[in-house]
Amino acid sequence: MAARTVSVDAQRPPQRVRARRQGLFVQAGLIVLAALWLIPVVWTLSISFRPENSIQANLSLMLPLPFTLENYEFVFSSSRLLRWFVNSLFVAVVRTILQMALCSLAAYAFARMRFPGRRFLFPFVLIGLMVPGQATFIPVYLLFSNLRLLNTFAALILPGVASSFAVFLLVQFFRNIPIELEEAALLDGASRLAVYLRIFLPLSTPVLTTLAIFTFLGTWNEFLWPLVAATDPDIMTITIGLRNLTATVDRIEFGQTMAAAWAAGLPIVFFFLIFQRRIISGIQLSSGIN
């Protein structure tokens, strides 16, 4: 019996080899999945470099043949493209900064300070996670309309500044910072603000960076709110401006539409390439994967 067992074991490849094979299979599977995901992306890129007549005659061709830059010329010839680009950048950057500041302060208070109503207020903030944006859309719109803030940058920036998700994420992170650090600083005479600024913020760089990246990406890609909040072309963000440029029923301009999509998305692609390690660790952080 024992000899038979030895014989079977001897036929098996070593564990290291098995693990390597499994790894190869997983990698091969991931490559296939990545390729499947890449096909439509490459397709849109290819279409953006093809003349319209050729696209409509053969939409499914993956190669950019014949090759043309005319779609990008159309998109970049818009005198307002730069303006919309700057608007988007301004809105995304300012909202990100404000959200970091406001939500980290709120999170610090919830995580470390004792004040009347804290037990009631925190769940109340969390309820915001469960209410979909569509449900609050009209009330928020009416609020900004009554404040006469529609068609201003304030309308584009302010609604996203207070974020339940950001507060929740930061509270969880702040709670894990050793309380001894805070107590030592308070004993040394540091104020609450100093503790927040000099201990909590520096220690929270990873989570704040993650949050900043997601807020920036989300704001840059936002469509529905800017669509109704900013109808003035001078205030529009790039997602709305480019959509308006290419949206007509009688003109099917796939090439221009795809070029516009890439023009709007390119900064995000670069942003991802630069911060990809942070973004991936951020996804792990926010999903609880270690």
Binding site: N53, A57, L59, N146, L150, L227, T248, D250, I252
Partner: protein
């Protein structure tokens, strides 16, 4: 003291006079919320319509021309995302609606029934719009409960785009160079078979809604059927509807017609038609310039292009169409001066609607259909009769929901997921439920 009083009086009188003059010279500004895209870079300063064929270029130029000719009533444009309802709803909710907007006619009942629109019959008439000039087919599109709320500007109908060379290969082109069109159920299938046997391609591709809600509705109307009873309740589960759906299933099963109902954008239909892989495509009026452009470019298989009306299979002519309508979303108690100004601008657009025909859409005015300018446009005479035979969905609040619901149920029947009887019964139930909750 006396001098001081005199000076004060003079200052007061002068300010009154200047104030009066200023207010008299101040132009009224109307806001127009519309889709059709943004082409300010190309047409922002354009006041010449020569050679413009696209929706955006035409409407932008017409607006510029109006502003140039009417310094007392200036028009500002807000470009909305198609179909224009998201921004309009938000603006109405906030109490800041535009003075004029454009909507598809089937949406008018739902807005009008909620008091969001201004009744316009009197204002249109006072502005000099001849409502009697609207074609028999178009007249209904702007109406709700006997009142005009919108002025139908065009008819975005389903028509038959035909590759004449492939029809000629099957011997189906007459001595005038026109295709020999089928006139009933049997002829439709026989024509399909003849073309398929001669060319190996289907004789009609029906992408997206051109395979579902549009032909179903047209075929119901062609049998003299109705989509609503006398009280305005939906009646989709009828004998005529079952006949129509069975015919759609029959032509799908024949193989002579392809029904890619998932091709919502129609892009695949265009590719097949221009590439000679189908002898025809049943799609919207807005494709005409696309195909004409391809033929002119000479790089596609399509060389001889013809446009025909939607096929008549049953006893009566009947084509399904949507319609862009200009309307005033200021509610029933709107300022009469603004309403009158808005009606003037709408009249201006209507008076120049022959230019809009360049887009391909059907025209709503009898006088425009008879005009030389219209008849000189390519293909327009081939399908002009459609303007008299088009039918809208019933002018009821469920009319807009009809599109989506019937499209889904017909699609389920074409997929074989539901029998035609079940699909129509489900459509009826869903429409009744929709009506119940309005």
């Amino acid at each position: 003291m006396r001098h001081k009083s005199l000076i004060l009086t003079l200052v007061f009188l002068t300010s009154l006079t200047l104030g009066g003059l200023t207010s008299a010279q101040e132009p009224m500004t109307l806001t127009v919320m519309r889709f059709f895209g943004d082409c300010q870079d190309e047409y922002g300063d354009s006041v010449d319509l020569t050679g413009i064929t696209g929706e955006c270029g035409i409407i932008t130029t017409l607006t510029n021309m109006w502003n140039e000719q009417n310094p007392d009533i200036q028009v500002e444009t807000i470009v909305a995302e198609w179909p224009g309802t998201t921004q309009l709803n938000a603006a109405i909710a906030a109490g800041t609606p535009p003075d004029i907007t454009v909507l598809h006619g089937r949406r008018i009942p739902i807005y009008a029934s909620r008091g969001a629109l201004t009744p316009m019959t009197a204002a249109f008439t006072e502005a000099g719009i001849d409502l009697a000039d609207l074609t028999a087919g178009a007249a209904d599109y702007g109406v709700y409960e006997g009142e005009y709320y919108g002025l139908p500007y065009d008819l975005a109908a389903t028509i038959w785009h035909i590759n004449l060379d492939l029809w000629a290969d099957a011997g189906l082109v007459d001595e005038n160079g026109a295709p020999v069109l089928p006139g009933n159920r049997e002829e439709f299938l026989a024509t399909g078979r003849q073309i398929y046997e001669a060319t190996g391609v289907p004789f009609a591709d029906m992408p997206g809604q051109a395979a579902t809600v549009r032909p179903l509705t047209a075929f119901i109307y062609q049998q003299g059927g109705s989509l609503a009873d006398e009280e305005g309740n939906p009646t989709v589960n009828t004998e005529e509807a079952l006949n129509a759906l069975n015919f759609l299933l029959e032509i799908q099963a024949s193989g002579y017609v392809t029904t890619p109902y998932s091709d919502i954008s129609g892009a695949i239909g265009i590719e097949k038609f221009s590439g000679g892989e189908s002898a025809g495509v049943i799609d919207g009026t807005w494709r005409i310039n696309v195909f004409d452009g391809m033929v002119a470019g000479g790089e596609v298989a399509l060389k001889n292009y013809y446009v025909a009306n939607f096929p008549q299979i049953f006893d009566e002519p009947g084509t399904f169409a949507g319609s862009h309508n200009w309307l005033v979303p200021l509610g029933p108690d709107a300022d009469p001066e603004r309403v009158a100004a808005a009606a003037q601008f709408i009249k201006w657009l209507s008076d120049n609607s022959v230019v809009w025909a360049r887009v391909g859409h059907g025209m709503t005015r009898t006088s425009v259909l008879a005009s030389e300018e219209f008849l000189n446009l390519p293909h327009r005479s081939e399908y002009a009769a459609m303007s008299e035979t088009v039918r809208s969905v019933p002018r009821e609040i469920w009319g807009n929901a009809f599109w989506g619901i019937v499209h889904e149920e017909v699609e389920a029947a074409l997929l074989g997921v539901k029998t035609p009887e079940v699909a129509l019964a489900d459509a009826q139930t869903r429409l009744e439920e929709f009506e119940l909750f309005q």
